[in-house]
Amino acid sequence: MTESLAITKLSDLANPTRFMALVARLVPWLAAITALLFAVGLYMSFTTEGDYQQGDTVRIMYVHVPAAWLAMMCYTIMALSAIGTLVWRHPLADVSHKAAAPLGAAFTLLALITGSLWGKPMWGTWWTWGDARLTSVFILFLMYLGLIALNRAIDDPSRAARVAAVLILVGFVNIPIIKFSVEWWNTLHQKSSVLRLDGPTIDPEFLRPLLVMALAFTLLFFTLHLLAMRNEILRRRVSAQRRMSARIASRGDAA
């Protein structure tokens, strides 16, 4: 039983090896394009006009909106990976949702902090629990933390991945709640102004830097996710090799 399990795991490493080669080829390009987009995006963020009502605080949106978008996109990628884990038992899917969780937590926290920093001067409060958008994003942050803790609590990586995958899929119900909270309930948080069926209602002066920054943040996420996945594969190789060398050593002692 243990022998056959070891063999399946080793043959599965064949695919991650091809993945590692792909990462090595892609990452330098992704990183360079990300840096370029951030340079352009930051320049636009501080040279475009301020809002007639919000003043310069509108510039916070060029960080807040991409971070919030990534918070949800990351969870969606994790949900797709969770399907890969549960349906195809693919080891790369396990690695993908495990590596994405800390990134998702970081961008969700960034969305919460920048939202607060905008809310204080504009709404007069850092935070309000009565707002469905704020509370549902906070729950998303807690779910990311829970998934990180769960992955750390279970030693066997493929078991951890299966348990985490079930939790990710159950928690996915929160994503449409976050997206539509501003329409379903009367919230302090404003309604969507970019991703709308009838097109963006935001002025092009604000939309342009917002889109460049959103693209920069998205590429930053993919660069970090690929590298974090590579690190996770390396971590699994190290522990697999340590286990195997321990087995060989104990066999040598017994002989």
Binding site: L10, L13, A14, T17, G55, D56, T57, R59, I60, V63, H64, A67, P102, L103, A106, L109, L110, I113, T114, L117, W118, K120, P121, L220, L224, L227, A228, R230, N231, L234, R235, R237, V238, Q241, R242, M244, S245, I248
Partner: protein, 65 residues
């Protein structure tokens, strides 16, 4: 600039967080590669990267089958 504190704190937090993520990914990768190199130096190799059986072990370490 009005509300400069809120604007610059937002960008500051975003910058620090991005740098932390980059540092984490970089340091984690470096540590794992180092561990693999140590394992390899101690004579243990992945099955796929192990040389053909006839080839003498170029690491000088003992070959473990």
């Amino acid at each position: 600039m009005k509300y400069a504190f809120y604007v610059f704190t937002s960008y500051g937090v975003a910058g620090v967080m991005t740098l932390c993520l980059i540092a984490w990914v970089w340091l984690d990768g470096r540590a794992r590669r180092q561990e693999l190199a140590e394992l390899e130096a101690s004579g243990f190799r992945r099955r796929s990267s192990r040389p053909a059986p006839e080839t003498p072990d170029d690491m000088g370490g003992e070959t473990k089958a």
